[in-house]
Symmetry: C2
Subunit: 281 residues, 2 copies
């Protein structure tokens, strides 16, 4: 049985498009509407069978009982007031952004049935062209309800993500932003700066090590400028903690402290090996 | 036709073992001898068909016409004087270490037919158990001859790596160490420090991004302590250049400089995309 009648997705890119395809595959809605700034993206989404109808005008979302906001964070923030005048108060609203503090604060006030969602899925690839219906299978989806969130909406959104085969966990928006600054935003900042440090003419002397370590540096710049700015304080703290660790490593190298280096790298080896056990899919 | 009669490999781990398997597959030697500190590694190497005979005692390498030194750099440095008394002056000697300045200097004096080699292959996995005969197919192999290197030995080693399907390029040991500090040693230092910065209890909130960015942090600690120390000066310079770039990014975030962040990330995106074109295999 469909969970929703009319689902509207604002932002039919990699994540929005994958959600649409997954809803179709699992028959969770009677109709899916897409909104995008790019007509080409809408045409592709329709072609791929992700959406039934699409428009560059927001008014098409009227009457939706689930609204998915899947644009960069700054676009969510600027569109939200207009959107709140179009959808009904009963509509459940989720966003799928990578930062939650700022967004939850604003959307929680505008939409009575807002539930922040952050599926830890996707890749450095962009656009509906790379979207797929199995994007969320086995991945973690963090929901960030607040004290004001409605239990019924939360239960429905939890069920929704579980139907997409995600493993759901709950965090406050604040805790989410603090943790993700370390586990996701910091690795991006590091990957960006790392490729920045290798002169172009030396790139041909690199192997799979540099390639994998900097894969995230291909991530969509528009999305990532927004993430870096909207989770500014946590990210700066995370960068400083990382800089501190790297400086310690540098100092052990400078001092030729073999014993210290050896024990540090062994500990790091062990910690890294835990990561392979933590991540499914 | 075999290129060599008796090949001796000191250090039958991931790279040494893969070279042995590749030589066997391509029929480049009449006999392969293995030396390791670990009897278990020798037994496995024999079992896998990588070597014909093995020993924990160095004397077995006597009579070799190709000697491959595939241990951590510090072990190469400490064994070299003893080895030079066992092998004949005609024996071609290569090492496969990731740093070349220090090693070339020492081995060039001890062995008249020494040619430094650095195959940019391998992975964070360890030991003969992960070795394979196709490890070098399509990968880059940097040779680091000096003014004193003999042309005949260089030509033979070039042909050797090409028979293993590697693409061969020549660099001086000094240039090699400067470039690899940026393209390989820096990414390792960054990966080590990055996983060091994520508290254990948050590892479960990470996705494939953190996993890929820190894959190198699983690399063998013994090998990497040696690399970090033996290419100390170049690595410290590389770390400082990276720290400088990361600080600039941090400062743009702190200043909420959206325009600057946007142009920086866009440039980085473009540079990173070149990397996908540079690496084959």
């Amino acid at each position: 049985m469909p969970l929703f009648n009319k689902v509207a997705i604002v932002g039919t890119g990699l994540i929005g498009g994958s959600i649409a395809l997954a809803i179709k595959k699992k028959h969770l809605a009677n109709e899916i509407i897409g909104v995008s700034r790019h007509r080409k993206s809408l045409a592709l989404a329709k072609n791929k069978g992700a959406i039934d109808r699409g428009s560059v005008a927001l008014e098409i979302i009227k009457g939706a009982d689930l609204l998915v906001l899947a644009t960069p964070v700054s676009v969510i923030m600027s569109l939200a007031p207009r959107i709140s005048k179009i959808v009904s108060k009963d509509c459940i609203v989720i966003d799928v952004g990578s930062t939650k503090g700022e967004v939850s604060n604003k959307l929680g006030k505008l939409f009575p049935n807002y539930i922040g969602s952050h599926p830890l899925a996707g890749s450095e690839k962009k656009g509906i062209i790379n979207a797929g219906p199995d994007m969320f299978r086995g991945s973690l989806c963090i929901l960030t309800p607040t004290r004001n969130s409605r239990a019924k909406a939360l239960a429905k959104i939890k069920a929704f993500w579980q139907r997409l085969e995600a493993r759901v966990v709950l965090l406050t928006p604040q805790k989410h932003d603090m943790i993700l600054a370390l586990t996701s935003h910091l690795p991006h900042a590091v990957a960006f700066s790392l490729i920045d440090s290798v002169p172009k003419q030396y790139l041909r002397f690199s192997s799979t090590g540099l390639r994998d370590t900097t894969r995230l540096a291909s991530s969509d710049s528009e999305i990532w400028v927004d993430i870096l700015l909207s989770n500014r304080k946590n990210i700066i703290k995370a960068i400083e903690s990382f800089q501190n660790n790297l400086s310690k490593l540098k100092s052990a190298i400078a001092k030729k402290d073999k014993k210290k280096l050896s024990s540090t790298l062994k500990q790091i080896n062990q910690k890294r090996d835990r990561l392979n056990l933590q991540i499914i899919g």
